[in-house]
Symmetry: C2
């Protein structure tokens, strides 16, 4: 991992060249590099924590001056119990996942002695822009090496000292591996991002993690495909047949588990026939956790008799807002189709849920809602690569192509078609006289 | 299929709404719509051919005035033997393909009573811009309906009368089906394209088929993902151990089968040790078909004694040029790695081939060349959805994400994650005391 003093164009070109080597390395060679990274980080613990302490010191000053939030400061601390060990364990976890490279996903005999094969391969060069969380760089570097992709990494500036320390160690470890040095590169200044975004000949995919503004800025300023999500405007539809205590549990977890997360609940749609039977229980549970409800007229009226609620009138804008805080918009709908239409037109296609005892209503909801995650009686907070069993994730995608939902190793792969022939030519095949026909015989995937 | 008198924004919004209905239709309902389209086109044969005759008449005039090529005029003619029948058969072929919607590609038991499922679903709304070939509209409409995607279609203007006639018939046929009317829309004027390209909230994917300029224009002017290829700069590496007559056959077919196609050969890389043994035979065969060779100094010298060749000196630009004509750039390389590096840096990542008797050289080439198609001893002209056995294709992609190579029905799909639970919340799971662990048990796909 080199600290890029080179120009962005040179860095990206070096990453591209390195990606061509990395793509041909065996699983063993990529896994050995991860083992080496793990060992090197273990040995360099004290130096890295010292660098992290310098980041923390600056951040605490900035927080004292009111320029940084306390929650960001807390996220910076690599010394927090368990964090360092989790980071190191994460590298071995990624190493031990199934190899995503070289999987044969289609085999067709086009003709005798002419076989077509579709084989998974790395995408190439990833540009990953992520938040100021020091442990993330190790995690992302591990994902890149494991998936055979070169990566240019830019992390949040508050973690710069930690990133530089960690990446120097990774770089030294890679020197002794078969992974080429240019394969993982760290950039530390924000001003190179516009230049990198112009390098569509060398960079194949941008994965921004961070604020809506960051993601939107990137989408508006590059021809390179962007994987990720700007908004996480998740909704739950509370249908009349839902179990009241189950509904309260799921809504509470979805809203209050981690309100700033993209998979948190922002809009609650309540069936009109559930306004008096289910909503009061749910509202009381939310209020007990400090949630303010922004209600339409019907739902507000239904809650008039419930004590200790924080109620406000919802505006139209509230149903298009990702609050990321203890605020929830509440809207009354008369039917499942109305709920579906609301979600498909107001939502962000991230994760949406129906709470109901009816399998028919649930299946219809899951078929018709156009989102990466569609859940029946489960918290929206389950939308997460680790929880899905992917080992880890580079982010959650609301894209409609390539990868959708939590993106793990599989989402960092593409494929190529290989044909092994014996000199066959296309002109020999066709419908006319003397022409051969293709066999198109599906072969087992071994 | 409605002729869009509506504004592009209204048309795209209507397509989006229709896509939400279309995505929930059964395979039977989508197939019935295709049967109805087939029957309606069969019944309307005379009207459509009359409209096509009007296109042809205008085109012949334009050709006489030197404003249109004869090959384009020939492509317009739906009355050519076999063309109409092929178009109709194509609709039934697409109908009879396996249903790409609703395939379960992953099933994981997260916990007892909490199952995760990944299910294929349509992408949503496609904007497909294609050339002036009247039969293509029926083919693309069939692909869209079969894959459950709504589509906004814009065809080359020289086929406008044919497109309008065909689309009116399709529209009337869809009226009697469950496919909503807004699902397939034809636009006939080029001036709405910039407006459509701005509608990233409603259009999920643009598929341009046509000139490099068209594809580049689109990539530079939209935030919507673009699937396709600008260039088809295919190369063949002629290694010293290749069989001479096999090599001549494959190179001839790759270069002269249809020189204007994207899968045609543009650059021949010759191993230096094959210059005197293999190249003369190949060059003579190419010359007999009228191919001009633009050679580097070494290859030109090697061909000095061969009679009747059309030789010219290659410039650097020739190795980055898609000639689309009977011109071939020839370059000498000393080794496989040099050939691979040349292709990865000069090529367009479409389809590249090695001619060799060595399995080791072939496998190394196919692993290291970063292209959608990597072939061993087979013509680059095989890069085609029909030849691959996909039934049909919407185009060939050189993208590094989503779909690569010939794109058939599978390439028009994405997936969603469904979770069926019993009220599980995320906060209940974790590493701490009293927390539950996820099972992450892989379930059979049924």
């Amino acid at each position: 991992m080199s600290l890029t003093n080179a120009s962005p164009a040179d860095a990206a070109q070096a990453a591209k060249s390195a990606s061509h080597v990395l793509a041909t390395l065996s699983a063993a060679a990529r896994n050995e590099a991860l083992t080496a990274i793990h060992a090197a980080l273990t040995a360099a613990r004290d130096d890295i924590l010292a660098a992290n302490a310098r980041d923390l010191e600056l951040a605490r000053q900035a927080a004292a001056d009111g320029k940084l939030s306390q929650s960001l400061v807390a996220r910076l601390d690599l010394g927090k119990p368990g964090k360092w060990d989790d980071m190191l364990k994460g590298i071995l976890d990624v190493r031990d996942l199934d190899d995503p490279v070289g999987r044969v996903t289609l085999r067709t005999r086009l003709d005798n002695g002419l076989d077509l094969e579709r084989v998974t391969c790395p995408i190439g060069v990833l540009l990953i822009i992520f938040e100021a969380r020091p442990e993330v760089i190790a995690n992302i570097a591990a994902l890149a090496v494991k998936s055979g992709n070169a990566a240019i990494l830019k992390g949040g500036k508050e973690s710069t000292e930690s990133f530089v320390a960690i990446s120097s160690v990774i770089s030294a470890a890679l020197e002794k591996s078969q992974v080429p040095n240019g394969a993982i590169q760290l950039v530390t200044t924000r001003d190179v991002i516009p230049q990198l975004l112009a390098l569509d000949a060398h960079i194949d995919l941008v994965i921004p993690r961070g604020s809506n503004e960051l993601v939107r800025y990137i989408k508006n300023n590059t021809r390179i495909p962007v994987l990720g999500h700007a908004d996480g405007l998740c909704a739950i539809y509370l249908e009349q047949s839902a179990d009241p205590s189950m509904a309260a549990d799921v809504i509470l977890d979805s809203k209050t588990g981690y309100p700033a997360a993209c998979n948190s609940l922002e809009t609650l749609l309540v069936q009109d026939t559930a306004l008096s039977t289910l909503l009061p229980t749910v509202a009381a549970a939310l209020a007990a956790k400090g949630v303010e409800l922004r209600c339409d007229a019907q739902s507000k009226a239904a809650l008039a008799g419930v004590p200790n609620l924080a109620l406000a009138d919802a505006t139209d804008a509230d149903f298009a807002t990702e609050f990321l805080s203890l605020t929830l918009a509440v809207k009354t709908v008369s039917s499942l189709p109305e709920a579906i239409t609301h979600i498909n037109t107001h939502g962000s296609h991230h994760t949406d849920c129906i709470l109901t005892a009816s399998p028919e209503q649930a299946e219809q909801f899951m078929a018709a809602v156009d989102s990466a995650g569609v859940y029946w009686n489960a918290s929206t907070r389950l939308a997460d690569g680790t929880r899905y069993g992917f080992g880890t994730e580079v982010g959650i995608s609301t894209n409609k192509i390539h990868s959708r939902g939590p993106v793990g190793l599989e989402g960092l792969m593409i494929y190529k078609y290989k044909i092994r022939g014996q000199g066959q030519v296309a002109a020999a095949y066709g419908e006319g006289e003397g022409k051969k026909r293709f066999l198109h015989q599906r072969l087992p995937l071994e």
